[in-house]
């Protein structure tokens, strides 16, 4: 299964390296979201500092929707999906592979976003290790749900509108926990956020398991 996962992830990342959609379109989109939030909430520095973590994670959520859509658009072009299905790869491996590729792209986007958000909203990035752990756990959860729903919405003609409607309510707890945990980490009291970090971890484990099991029926037809 892991060999299959690495094959699929490698393929998706190669497509990304050659087309640069995530880097050239998704990442700038997320930055636009941050700037728009800044405009909407006004130039008051203390307000922006207070909501910066929330804005960062909302932008990351929206970027996830786009990254997942992109990941399944690759499979829709030239009926690549049928090729993937005929290749005899383990469905759980395909799930893990697509998830890994999306997660790799998201981590890059999140790093860019974090740096820009820190500059725009005047936040000092501290508590490095905890922040990394939060990002990894939250991204895993987001990507697990996103990949399952990406496959659910994949062949629907209304997929562009269906995916956000399905995805965003499910990951509401991730948003909540990630904001709380990173706020605690940035405030210099990371231990206050450990409970939230655990929640992120549980969410990620549950949905990775659900995805690995449910991906089979989704791709077999």
């Amino acid at each position: 299964m892991w060999r299959d996962a690495l094959l699929v992830a490698g393929k998706d990342l190669r497509v990304e390296l050659r087309s640069r959609v995530a880097l050239a379109e998704v990442a700038p989109f997320a930055l636009v979201v941050l700037v728009l939030f800044g405009l909407a909430l006004g130039p008051d520095r203390s307000v922006l500092q207070n909501v910066a973590t929330g804005l960062f994670w909302v932008a990351a959520l929206l970027a996830t929707v786009l990254a997942v859509q992109r990941s399944f658009a690759i499979e829709a072009a030239d009926d690549a999906r049928d090729g993937l299905r005929l290749s005899g790869l383990d469905p759980a491996g395909v799930f893990a592979g697509k998830g890994l590729a999306i997660a790799a792209q998201l981590v890059v986007i999140e790093i860019v976003l974090a740096v820009v958000a820190a500059l725009l909203f005047d936040v000092h990035l501290s508590g490095g290790l905890t922040l990394i752990a939060i990002c990894v756990a939250a991204t895993t959860g987001l990507v697990a749900v996103g990949t399952v729903y990406g496959a659910v919405a994949a062949r629907a003609r209304v997929r562009e509108t269906l995916l956000p409607l399905l995805f965003l309510p499910v990951v509401a707890p991730v948003l909540l926990a990630a904001v709380k945990a990173s706020k605690a980490a940035l405030a210099g009291t990371p231990s206050h956020g450990y409970g939230w970090l655990e929640l992120l971890g549980v969410f990620a484990v549950v949905y990775v398991a659900v995805g690995a099991v449910a991906f089979g029926p989704l791709v077999e037809d």
Partner: protein, 270 residues
């Protein structure tokens, strides 16, 4: 979509298309089932009427909440039905995904339950909001139960959106079963995260029928109990009808397809 209800009684204009069908032979069995469902509907109606009468006229106003307490006779029962509905949708989705029990009937049942569940979620939100305005002074508060219910509403609207996607019924059934699975697992996670988020402010005590029972006595307790029973009956009645409608709608589209294909074959043969 408009579908005629089974069986087609005393409608000469419409009876033509079923007259030649073997379904007519099963008519006596289906009328018996119809009568049972109608009796269930009648029972539900009687229950609701008695509940309204008890709730509005017989029971006394509450010491602290006054007449507002009368919302207690609908709101918790609506929420209860909502959870039952989503539970049924979840279980039948699991049964559909499990290869040994896979049957289109479970898919129809899941869809019917979720649809009725969304209606009851909407009603729960509306009655909760009506309750909140005079008691808490606001239409909306970020209380764990309220927030969870609102997210549930959106989650299952998404599920219904998956069900509306046109395509092969088996593919759609699998997709929606997975969506139901993902959505239902999210419910406890959402609840506990929101509970935790608001833990400093407010705990769900007003909405909780279990803890609420400590100050509910006599006629009020009976009215509350009756509301649970009669709303459950209403739910069951709606569920059966929605389920049958769903089966009929599929049958209709299958038969229309068969007719269209037969016509097409006729054209080709000519």
């Amino acid at each position: 979509m408009t579908v005629t209800s089974t069986p087609l009684k005393e409608q000469p204009g419409r009876a033509v298309d079923v007259a030649s069908s073997p379904r007519r032979l099963r008519r006596s069995a289906s009328t018996r089932r119809d009568r049972l469902v109608a009796a269930l509907g009648l029972l539900a109606l009687i229950g609701v009427v008695i509940d309204v009468w008890l709730g509005l006229w017989v029971t006394p106003p509450d010491q602290t909440l006054g007449n507002l307490v009368r919302l207690l006779y609908i709101h918790p029962a609506l929420a209860w039905v909502m959870y039952i509905a989503y539970g049924i949708a979840f279980l039948s989705s699991i049964l559909y995904l499990w290869p040994r029990t896979r049957s289109p009937r479970f898919d129809h049942l899941a869809g019917a339950a979720a649809e009725v569940g969304v209606v009851f979620t909407g009603l729960t939100l509306v009655t909760g909001s009506i309750w909140g305005r005079p008691t808490w002074g606001t239409w909306w508060t970020w209380d764990p139960l309220l927030t969870t219910t609102a997210l549930l509403f959106v989650l299952y609207l998404g599920y219904l959106a998956v069900r509306r996607v046109p395509g092969d019924p088996a593919t759609r059934a699998k997709r929606s079963a997975v969506a139901a699975l993902v959505a239902f697992i999210d419910v406890p996670v959402v609840y506990f995260s929101v509970l935790w988020w608001r833990s400093l402010h407010q705990l769900p005590t007003v909405d909780d029928p279990v803890t609420g029972k400590t100050y509910v006595h006599g006629s009020m307790a009976w009215t509350l109990l009756l509301s649970f029973v009669s709303f459950s009956l209403v739910f069951l009645w709606l569920l059966i009808h929605r389920y049958r409608l769903s089966l009929l709608a599929e049958k209709e589209s299958d038969e229309l397809l068969a007719i269209a294909m037969a016509e097409r074959r006729g054209e080709v043969a000519r």
